[in-house]
């Protein structure tokens, strides 16, 4: 990817330093437009300096300065007419790369009802960003990692990013809320740009940071900069760094914040926080999104639109049955711990670049640096961060990460797939057999995203493979699952997947394998049981423990009865309550774990509350937490780590999970608000 090429090419580029005046800058803008770039830069609108299309140097905010304080932003006149004599405003460059609204999919129902899904038309506009500050270069690098640095590459972001030309501007004056120097992200732009400008007394030094930048500089034909100009760039940015009053100490933040999840400061800040989401909207690295379903009145044509979301909304943590982050305290803590702590294991850097936007644009002026300082000033007594999957040391300046060799493009567009059979399991639960659109293989524990155009998309775990079709066991609880569960053979749905981690079957080789299921939790465990009992030489002792609310809620009854007599399987089913006809065990599923084997490997899936009590019982029996696996559920919109909704502490349930080894989630498992 070109993103990486830029990162490589910049070091040797320092020599190409030119000097231009305002006319030269005008020519530069003209050349960029000539090359087909839309030029976007700072301009004054509605009392602020925003990034918008600029046609000429005249559109730049000459002579304006932004005075900033927590919850306050005012434009004031400068004594000079500097073009870049301001810092950052309410809009960040993400608005042009990870755009606020992006249509993902268009779906239509064709002749005979056949489904058709298309990736929505997408024109990657070539945009030149004029005046990108060092903090924002770092922010772009952070979002590069989020959208292109993991197992999945988001093609829309990647295309816009590849098409962008970046003209950075070095900061010689610090804003009152800037703290890039302490975060190691500025004020000197060192990499990640095509060209970098420094405005000194009405003239600009220009340095190239990429081949594209060098080519443009050649075309510009500007004079070489004098040695003292280059020196003034270093001096000026160094003076700016030294003058920066605000700071945040990034050292040890992951441990500090994740070790103080019960700190009283969270309650104090929650009393002030409006949960209005402004901080996440103005943050140049925040990347959460949600999806809107659209359709015409008949549902014959439909679409899915991605819009900026926020962990401060209730929807972000919502699944059927409730919200994982109901309180403002939960949401603020989620945001801050994600930004400054969880981000490090997720992406190798802090999520904060020190731009100060969240402080200025918080209507009540909550200051992220003060919140951190307050917790640092009185950390809780025993920061217990054992088992945290933290990276050793976060690098101060985020370097764009190369996508993994195995990374694949994930455009989030489903493919039509036909239902071959629909088997009713219980009054509200159906197993759909779905013929996958193309070659399909999965591992037990993974899930698919199933969708109906205009209705919605939901993650559904894979409950088996019947030889020609994937099985999905669906409980009709919401609008999407209700309609999925009503599908009949021959009808189509949208499918993409499989996603996520799987049960590590072979960890149980030669050990007693305990499969512990609660309710619908048996669905993702069924393919595991099938594999375990099909390999008796590897798994001589399999125990299936299943709990349900009532006998009528037990899934896969016929298949379970068919397993009777398997020499390597013992099955124990229990129900919470029963009528007189039920001869089996009555009582909660945890009571069947009293004789949990200390040598066993445990695969647990069910409602979170059931897993909590089941795991506690298993651990009480002396089983080490490394031998226990659980499958988690959170809100999921994309399944590829882009939307941010399924985060569970530093983990993404969609791509790191849903199956986790218990010790990696233990410190959050008995805690609410995550």
């Amino acid at each position: 990817m070109e993103v990486e090429v830029k990162a490589e090419a910049k070091e040797d580029a320092r020599s190409t330093v030119r000097a231009i005046d305002r006319d030269g800058l005008e020519r530069l803008l003209g050349l960029l437009r000539e090359e087909g770039y839309r030029t976007i830069g700072p301009t004054v609108r509605d009392g602020a300096i925003v990034y918008d299309e600029i046609e000429s140097v005249r559109d730049l905010p000459a002579g304006w300065k932004d005075e900033q304080a927590p919850g306050r932003y005012r434009l004031v006149r400068r004594p000079d007419d500097a073009l870049f004599g301001h810092v950052v405003g309410p809009i960040s460059w993400k608005a042009f790369l990870f755009r606020p609204r992006e249509t993902l999919t268009a779906a239509a129902r064709g002749e005979g009802g056949a489904l058709e899904f298309r990736r929505a038309p997408f024109e990657p506009e070539r945009a030149a960003f004029i005046g990108v500050r060092s903090c924002d270069l770092a922010a772009i690098a952070v979002q590069d990692t989020v959208f292109t640095g993991g197992p999945y590459v988001e093609p829309r972001y990647a295309a816009l990013r590849r098409a962008a030309f970046i003209v950075a501007v070095n900061c010689l004056e610090s804003g009152a809320l800037c703290f890039c120097a302490s975060m190691g992200t500025g004020p000197r732009a060192r990499r990640g740009f095509d060209l970098a400008l420094t405005e000194i007394e009405g003239r600009f030094t220009v340095e190239a940071g990429s081949d594209a930048g060098r080519r443009l500089l050649e075309r510009l034909g500007a004079e070489e900069a004098r040695a003292e100009d280059a020196a003034r760039v270093e001096e000026g940015t160094a003076r700016c760094a030294a003058s920066m009053a605000k700071r945040m100490d990034p050292a040890g933040l992951p441990e500090l914040l994740l070790g103080n999840l019960d700190h009283p400061r969270w309650d104090e800040v929650a009393a002030r926080c409006l949960a209005c989401a402004n901080c996440t909207m103005v943050c140049p690295t925040c990347f959460c999104s949600t999806v809107e379903e659209t359709s015409d009145l008949t549902g014959s044509s439909a679409g899915r639109v991605r819009v900026w979301g926020s962990c401060f909304t209730e929807e972000h943590g919502k699944v059927h049955g409730g919200s994982y982050r109901p309180e403002i305290k939960d949401r603020y803590r989620q945001w801050l711990t994600h930004k400054l702590a969880s981000w490090v294991p997720q992406f190798g850097t802090s999520g904060c670049v020190g731009c100060g936007r969240c402080i200025a644009w918080c209507p009540v002026g909550i200051d992220i640096t003060e919140e951190v300082a307050a917790i640092r000033a009185s950390p809780g007594p025993v920061p217990d961060v054992q088992g945290l999957p933290l990276a050793p040391v976060p690098s101060p300046l985020p370097a764009p990460r190369a996508p993994a060799a195995s990374s694949v493009e994930e455009d989030l567009v489903p493919r039509p797939a036909a239902v071959t059979a629909a088997v009713r399991e219980t009054p509200d639960t159906v197993t759909l057999h779905v013929r996958p659109p193309q070659g399909f293989s999965f591992r037990p524990g993974q899930f698919n995203m199933l969708s109906l155009p205009g209705v919605g998309e939901v993650p559904i775990s894979i409950s088996g493979w019947d030889g020609t079709a994937v099985e999905h066991t669906i409980r009709a609880v919401g609008p999407v699952t209700r309609q999925l569960a009503a599908l009949r053979p021959g009808q189509e749905l949208g499918m993409r997947g499989p996603y996520g981690s799987s049960w590590p079957v072979d960890e149980a080789k030669g050990c007693p394998a305990w499969v512990v299921a609660g309710g619908l939790g048996l669905a993702p465990l069924r393919p595991l049981v099938r594999e375990l009992i099909g390999r008796p030489e590897d798994f001589p002792e399999v125990r299936l423990i299943g709990g349900s609310r009532t006998p009528g809620d037990i899934l896969f009854v016929r298949e379970i009865l068919g397993w009777i007599g398997r020499r390597n399987l013992q099955t124990h089913l229990t129900v919470d309550r029963a009528g007189p006809d039920w001869r089996g065990s009555i009582g909660v599923v945890t009571q069947l774990l009293d004789d949990a084997s200390i040598e066993g490997v445990y695969f647990v899936c069910g409602p979170e509350i059931m897993m909590r009590f089941a795991v506690r019982r298993i651990l009480e029996a002396g089983v080490p937490p490394q031998r226990v696996y659980v499958s988690m559920e959170r809100n999921m919109k994309c399944a590829a780590g882009f939307c941010g909704c399924c985060q569970y502490g530093p983990l993404f349930v969609c791509k790191d999970g849903p199956v986790f080894r218990y010790d990696s989630v233990a410190y959050l498992f008995e805690r609410s608000g995550f």
Binding site: H320, V477, G521, D576, R577, G579, W582, Q591, G606
Partner: protein, 159 residues
């Protein structure tokens, strides 16, 4: 086995995990107030509201506890198997049975006279402490289970 074929109660008691902590003389004393009883499948062992003189330990088979729901069949909420206490409330004075107990499989139970057990424990506090600890452990696990049933953990389920 004694000459007439019935198992020796003391031997039966020694086999039970719940009485493992009792000393020899304590087991002998307990054996003196026990008898073995058998219930065919489907038969009632006790009913809600019964004066409830006896405490049981299940030796074989299964027993279901339930409560009568007016206008419907019993709602059963717990089943017990070998080694489990049954009817522990008889250990408390003047406490009637709180649920219906019915054998769901042919059941063999050790039946202990509650009043006599209490007076044994009164005389021998060491024994009383051990017995109460076992009953407390059973009651605690049932309280925990009842809480989970109260939470109705399958209500909000993962998809």
């Amino acid at each position: 086995m004694n000459p007439n074929g019935d198992p020796d109660p003391a031997a039966v008691i020694r086999e039970l995990k719940v009485f493992q902590s009792l000393g020899g003389p304590q087991v002998e004393a307990l054996a003196g107030i026990c008898r073995e009883v058998r219930y065919p499948a489907g038969s009632v062992i006790f009913r809600e509201g019964d004066a409830g003189a006896d405490i049981y330990v299940v030796l074989e088979g299964r027993v279901a506890l339930g409560v009568a729901i007016p206008g419907g069949p019993d709602m059963r909420f717990l089943s017990l198997g070998p080694g489990d206490f049954l009817g522990w409330s008889a250990f408390l004075p003047r406490k009637p049975k709180m649920s219906n107990a019915r054998a769901t499989e042919p059941a063999r139970l050790l039946s202990i006279d509650g009043a006599k057990l209490r007076s044994l424990c009164d005389q021998d506090h060491d024994m009383g402490y051990r017995v109460v600890l076992e009953i407390l452990s059973a009651v605690s696990s049932r309280l925990q289970a009842t809480r989970l049933q109260l939470i109705d953990m399958y209500r909000a389920e993962p998809r």
